[in-house]
Symmetry: C2
Subunit: 411 residues, 2 copies
């Protein structure tokens, strides 16, 4: 239960001029985000609540796959990055000068964590009995982008879930991969993205292996990628891996395709033994033969996923939060001076009886239409109105954002 | 419920050579932390669980003071830091070269957030009715320290709760300050630090005001600060603000003192109008006169607090987690092949019936003494043993880490 009169961040009456598309201005106007600089954002309290809810959904599904959550540091010494030769080749890596007597000392500010996780698990892997290992974190990533694009879609600082899995055999990986795929599907379904709009596309040829990486794409009007889906086997392809004038499916070799616009929310990369080689990550198999550990990584861009969900859940005028990640479940409008006690009582009843519910009470001294406007703008899925008229008959009005009807609820 | 056989990070048999004191090697040996570089740490899963629990305690108490949680970015443009002249004066500020065509472009990597929060609330403050405002975040901070000291105590990267409050009058601040003081005391009591070991000391003379800052100090053997407490009025003083050879209490002017060793866990600074001046943060009072907003900030170093709690909760040989922040409440030892089903049943019963309980089941194929060693090393507050012998009589053994006795519990 939160009282809006105690909440410092107000919505804007007019459309902020700095936005470049409708969904961005809705986020700005509703007071969910503010820009700190190109590619970095301030997350205001209601947006942070959404972030925390989606993170909990991700966490819950990852834990079910027996992955252990940890937290690696953002700053690293240069040393491990030179072992993989990536200090000089990853152009989006931030290099931070250290406050030291030697003016040349620098730290790496992470954009990915293979150089940190591989030496860590190295300490704990001796034999095949120690495998598989699967660890993940939900952490801020930094990318030294030349140009920050499309607001939350590609930033210099963003929230990422990165999971790394370590296997003794390809078969073992494949088994775990199916478990992960199920977990990812659960995450997207819980965030109310429909199964028919989810595509697992073949993406870039990964530079140090001869395999494709895969990405989960969501079919959506505001897009970054062009996706070509085979009409025969329904395999999706990122445009980067096909000839767009002469489509041939990489799976079944059929030649008919459908074209979609989509946004990427998940990525999986075969790291193979690239990092095992660099850090000498080996294990003893059943016959005491030393073998290289096989490694994969799996990403979800949390802040990007939220952006996609926000765009995906729009109606003709506003966006509507899916109930599972909405900052509040109910927005309660009342004449505060007159009906204070009843309002609190109704909110308490709702929070007690409806799982995961949380009520935002608009107790401000404002006109009804101003409150109704904010209820719409904040996209809370359920709106409750109580007034002297409704209370006379011991009921309140409930309107779901996804429905046209107003329901009458007995108190 | 977690099964240890599925957990990748094992404890160490011997004391790691890289540690510099007993409590650090216990944290290393138990597999709670690993060093990434001097001043930056990898938080392994059990340590992260403790972090999450203490963060939730902090969050809960902050929300009760009507503070709103948000999340500011780590990277900022240089612009706001030059407005406060701190770009050149804060020597621990990391300055990060941008990937840009102009080779001189740099970003700030935060060590504190006044330059970000002040322009944000500026947008939402017009009149005295918009005040007070209180916002906080739990976020990673970066400090470009010349030397990183004492492991987790003073690092280059660490977790901080920073709260900023904005007031129209000093009286209003004082009212809110008392509320915060109560919240902080609750946090420390919930983390099992005894009231008699908590001191609110007068600390540094704050550079841009004529007021002292205050810090919460915990009386502890492993320390950073020397605290002088007045025997008369019990006011504590950091040694930096007194003449240690000739003590005079800053509160009652008495001249008798007691000397303690202590570690700082909380800090409060009067920011006064320093940042309001820099960013022109003003409000209209009741008479439509423009006045400057008064600003304070309140810190808790989360990772440092955990360190202090860990040291504070030691017994003669090990450390014992307080139940409120222990990664698990119970450590269950059994012969897995024989008693698997009963073990799971007992764990389920405990998690269902005891609030906040979570059971770590040691289902590994190891000797009993190896499991008992890990139970001790991981500092879980309750140890449960089931065996054929105990099960014959339908009971299990429960030993609290803080007690000598073993209890017999009926199943």
């Amino acid at each position: 239960m939160l009282f809006l009169s105690r909440y410092p961040f107000k919505t804007l009456k007019s459309i902020p001029k700095i936005s470049d598309n409708k969904w961005t201005w809705l986020l700005l106007q509703a007071g969910f985000i503010r820009q700190e600089m190109a590619g970095a954002y301030k997350y205001l309290p209601f947006w942070l609540k959404v972030i925390q809810k989606i993170s909990d959904i991700v966490r819950d599904e990852m834990n079910k796959t027996w992955a252990s959550e940890l937290l690696l540091s953002s700053l690293w010494s240069k040393e491990n990055w030179t072992k993989t030769w990536r200090w000089d080749t990853v152009d989006v890596l931030f290099k931070v000068p250290a406050n030291s007597s030697s003016s040349k000392k620098e730290y790496a500010l992470n954009c990915t964590h293979e150089e940190s996780i591989t030496p860590l698990v190295w300490e704990f892997i001796q034999s095949y009995k120690d495998l598989p290992i699967s660890v993940y974190q939900i952490q801020t990533k930094f990318r030294n982008e030349l140009r920050a694009k499309s607001w939350l879609l590609r930033g210099r600082e963003f929230l990422m879930k990165d999971l790394y899995s370590f296997h003794s055999t390809d078969e073992d990986f494949k088994k775990y991969y199916e478990i992960q795929k199920k977990a990812y599907t659960n995450i997207f379904l819980k965030s109310w993205i429909k199964k028919e709009d989810l595509f697992m596309a073949i993406a870039d040829w990964w530079d140090f292996t001869e395999k494709f990486s895969h990405e989960f794409q969501v079919k959506i009007w505001i897009w970054e990628d062009n996706i070509y889906v085979c009409k025969f086997c329904w395999q999706a392809h990122n445009e980067e891996v096909i000839d767009t004038n002469n489509f041939i499916c990489k799976n079944c070799w059929a030649e008919k395709e459908v074209h979609f616009n989509a946004s990427e929310v998940w990525n999986i990369f075969p790291l193979e033994t690239k990092f095992s080689d660099a850090f000498d990550l080996k294990f003893n198999d059943e016959n005491w033969k030393l073998k290289k550990v096989i490694m994969w990584c799996y990403w979800i861009w949390i802040s990007r996923l939220m952006w996609v969900i926000a765009e995906y859940s729009l109606d003709e005028k506003w966006l509507v939060w899916p109930e599972s990640i909405s900052p509040f479940s109910h927005y309660l409008i009342c004449h505060w001076e007159q009906n204070r006690e009843t309002a609190i009582k109704i909110a308490e009843d709702i929070e007690k009886n409806i799982l995961w519910s949380e009520v935002l009470i608009d107790d401000r001294d404002l006109w009804f239409w101003q409150k109704a406007w904010d209820a719409d703008l904040l996209w809370i899925p359920n709106r409750i109105i109580i007034s002297d008229k409704t209370l006379k008959n011991w009921w309140y009005e409930l309107k779901k954002r996804t429905s046209e009807k107003t329901e009458i609820i007995k108190i």
